[in-house]
């Protein structure tokens, strides 16, 4: 359905670089079953057909608000929650539907970093064992070389290797997130999927972890899918940004393009709502306020799924145009904007 043409930007030179990750029409539905007969009576469409590419060395930011399906997308890409339909090509290999046993060698190359550094580390394991676990599972290192590798990883992420024998609770939030990153890097992956890696951290600590992720990408040539709700953080780290709303990508563009020329009304509302730590600009800014609540992903509105809250739909469109929004699902298309937008009446408007 939606054909997303890719725009190379940021650090990746334009040209025929084969993407390391190609996601096409990925869907993840959670069936709703009736109480007694357990018949499927509906679907929660957490991810409803998303497509994007990630080039080697590129950071793609996936932003959206809670309930937009961004975390589910990350897990579906990694085949931690099997996708309902669609395709995830990682280095040319199809991951959707791949059996767990065959998936195992691929897990070396694509790793996940979790949001909550308190929950994602087993509280009963020493840090050295936590970081060594992937190496032990995949039988990569043993004995002295295992210890050397753990030490190397701890230094890589800015942790003191002397603390290898400690337990997670003896570290601060930022340090724990570094442990999680070290664990993800243990097998020399090519790609990391980062699920809100800094949102649980205090501001002053966040910055250090973001810098670390930035450096690691440059140093190790990693690609990231960076999932987050904080647009200022995503803008800082990403080369390209995909904005998700209710299971769909509504707009995808290079970071600079998206912030300078947002074209989807949702993106515009999102950008205008970022609180800026700048009192004078805050006073003069105009916010685009969204009406109503996020519709349930079990009961997606007909046509354009954003129309129920869309300020443009409510204030600017005539009845005929509104009818189009109600009946016709907008495909993600470049139109005359320059980057793919899923809106019939997309129009660039600078809001920041």
């Amino acid at each position: 359905m939606s054909s997303v043409t890719m725009e190379k930007s940021g650090k990746v030179p334009p040209g025929e670089v084969e993407p390391i990750l190609r996601v096409t029409n990925l869907e993840k539905y959670f069936p709703i079953r009736s109480r007694i007969l357990k018949r499927v009576i509906g679907n929660v469409k957490a991810v409803d057909g998303i497509s994007f590419d990630v080039s080697p060395g590129e950071i793609l930011g996936l932003v959206g608000e809670s309930g937009c399906g961004k975390s589910t997308s990350g897990r579906a890409i990694l085949n931690l929650q099997p996708a309902t339909a669609g395709s995830v090509l990682f280095e040319g290999k199809e991951l959707v539907g791949m059996a767990r046993g065959r998936m195992r060698p691929i897990r070396k190359d694509i790793q996940l970093v979790f949001q909550d550094p308190y929950a994602s580390l087993d509280p009963r394991m020493q840090v050295s064992r936590i970081i060594a676990e992937p190496l032990v599972i995949h039988k990569v290192h043993e004995g002295d070389s295992l210890r050397a590798r753990v030490r190397e990883l701890m230094e890589l992420v800015g942790l003191n290797p002397e603390h290898a024998m400690r337990y997670p609770h003896e570290f601060s939030g930022g340090q724990r997130q570094r442990i999680g990153i070290a664990r993800a890097l243990a097998l020399n992956p090519k790609m990391l999927v980062l699920d809100e890696p800094v949102s649980a951290l205090d501001v002053s600590i966040q910055a250090g972890v973001i810098n670390l992720l930035d450096d690691l990408r440059d140093r190790l040539g990693l690609s990231y899918v960076f999932i987050a709700h904080d647009l200022s953080v995503v803008r800082h780290i990403s080369d390209r940004i995909a904005v998700m709303y209710l299971g769909r990508i509504v707009e995808i563009a290079s970071t600079e393009e998206l912030f300078a020329r947002p074209a989807h009304p949702y993106t515009q509302a999102l950008l205008s709502a970022i609180p800026l730590p700048d009192p004078r600009r805050e006073r003069t800014r105009k916010r685009i306020l969204l009406e109503g609540d996020l519709p349930s992903p079990a009961n997606v509105p007909s046509g354009c799924r954003f129309r129920t809250r869309c300020p443009k739909f409510a204030n600017e469109l005539n009845e005929q145009q509104q009818q189009r929004c109600i009946t016709e699902d907008p495909v993600s298309d470049v139109r005359d904007i320059g980057h793919p937008v899923a809106c019939h009446f997309a129009e660039v408007q600078a809001v920041l």
Binding site: E65, E162, S204, I274, P275, P279, L289, D293
Partner: protein, 424 residues
């Protein structure tokens, strides 16, 4: 220890005694805060005044001397990271802390002392005079009652004479003010039928039900998405305009403070470390912690990517505060003098509306926030690492890897990412 000494010092210089300045002739006036946005009209009477508030839980001192005051229609932002004592201080003001908390200092509401009053007196003050909005609206709404009933209940508690219909009309009006669509029907819904943002608006409606003089909002939008946060903040501003109340907004989000508050109080390790107008604090920070906080945020005002400058280290444990200035172990301006005593809030930039608790604040004079931020770039980055380490069994690992690693760092020429503790 240090704190006690300071508190006991008679006539300590530069005590954060803001009240003094407020009542001084030609005192605080909104115009001087360089705010060009129209603000609700206000009188100069001080509604809530907190002086030298201290809260201790056993040996743990959560708040170590906080003073501020708010006037009608004014918005004070209290900002700080987790563990800075910002929430505990407001709980203490509301008398909501458990009995195990030892609270000293003074909290006066329109001249009446609130600390040490019994629960009955405080109950009359809470809701009627001072209302509170919490982070999680689910905890302040009773799940078994319809929200219409909860609002009318609040109304009737403080004005028993109100008729049933009158209360209902007022509840409806309140829901409309905070922007609940279709308010007539939604009066009959239960809290769980509302989304997080809508629930928080209901809480705001309840908070403003009795025309309070002061509204204290503790991280009211932290659990919400940005677009929802924007609407809830609008609802809060509407509530403030409607009631003319003073608003105390507690948050960790500097962006929210910048948009809503007129004055800011920055807390660190249980104390106020910088106080001033938003413009002064955000554009001309004079305390290294505030500088670091502002510079650790990604900049949205410039197009090219600038490297973030994190504050090194972690916030101190309140049971084991460092000697002298609590920020000293993380401070790039540290000098031995900083460990001798805890700095008091002193006037900076030569005017009495901007205060900072730092011995070396002179180093920052005349700089904007980004210029001042350069002090953090000289320090070693990513050094959340605790200091010196003594070798243990891991030391006898092969070093070839590490050296190659280090060489690689040098060749890439990227700053601040090499191993800091490479054994030589």
């Amino acid at each position: 220890m240090h704190m006690r000494k300071n508190a006991g010092e008679p006539g300590a210089q530069g005590r954060p005694d803001l009240a003094k300045h407020a009542t001084a002739p030609g005192g605080v006036d909104v115009v001087e805060f360089e705010t060009d946005q129209p603000r609700p009209a206000r009188s100069t009477d001080v509604l809530l005044k907190v002086e030298n508030l201290e809260v201790a839980f056993g040996s743990l001192k959560a708040v170590r001397g906080v003073s501020y005051e708010v006037r009608r229609g004014e918005t004070l932002g209290i900002v700080g990271e987790s563990g800075s004592g910002k929430s505990v201080s407001s709980m203490a003001v509301m008398g909501l802390l458990p009995k195990t908390a030892k609270i000293t200092g003074s909290v006066t509401f329109q001249g009446d002392e609130l600390l040490g009053r019994n629960d009955k007196v405080m109950s009359a003050v809470r809701g009627k005079k001072i209302a509170m909005i919490f982070q999680d609206p689910m905890t302040s709404l009773d799940p078994v009652y319809k929200i219409g009933a909860q609002i009318t209940e609040t109304l009737k508690v403080h004005s028993p004479g109100l008729s049933r219909q009158g209360a209902r009309d007022r509840a409806l009006e309140l829901l409309k003010i905070v922007g609940i669509p279709n308010a007539e029907n939604r009066m009959n819904d239960y809290p769980h039928e509302f989304s997080g943002g809508m629930r928080q608006r209901v809480v705001i409606a309840i908070a403003m039900a009795n025309n309070p003089d002061v509204i204290i909002a503790d991280e009211p939008t932290t659990a919400l998405d940005v677009t929802v946060q924007a609407t809830v903040l609008e609802a809060m501003k509407a509530a403030q305009v409607e009631t003319g109340a003073a608003l105390i907004l507690i948050t960790h989000d500097l962006g929210v403070i910048a948009g809503v508050a007129e004055r800011v109080l920055v807390m660190y390790a249980g104390r106020a470390v910088e106080v001033g107008s938003v413009d002064d604090v955000f554009y001309r920070p004079r305390m290294p912690y505030t500088v670091g906080l502002l510079n650790s945020l990604p900049r949205l005002d410039v197009h090219e990517k600038t490297r973030l400058t994190p504050i090194t280290g972690t916030p101190p444990s309140l049971q084991h505060l460092p000697a002298g200035c609590p920020f000293s172990p993380r401070c790039p301006l540290y000098e031995p003098h900083c460990s001798t005593a805890e700095p008091e809030l002193v006037e900076v930039d030569g005017h009495d509306k901007h205060w900072a608790a730092c011995f070396r604040t002179d180093q920052l004079v005349g700089q904007d926030r980004y210029e001042a931020g350069e002090i953090f770039q000289t320090g070693s980055e990513d050094s959340e690492l605790p200091g010196e380490v003594i070798g243990d069994d891991l030391h006898d690992t092969p070093r070839a890897d590490l050296e190659r690693d280090a060489a690689q760092t040098q060749s890439t020429g990227l700053p601040g990412q090499g191993p800091k503790e490479t054994p030589r």
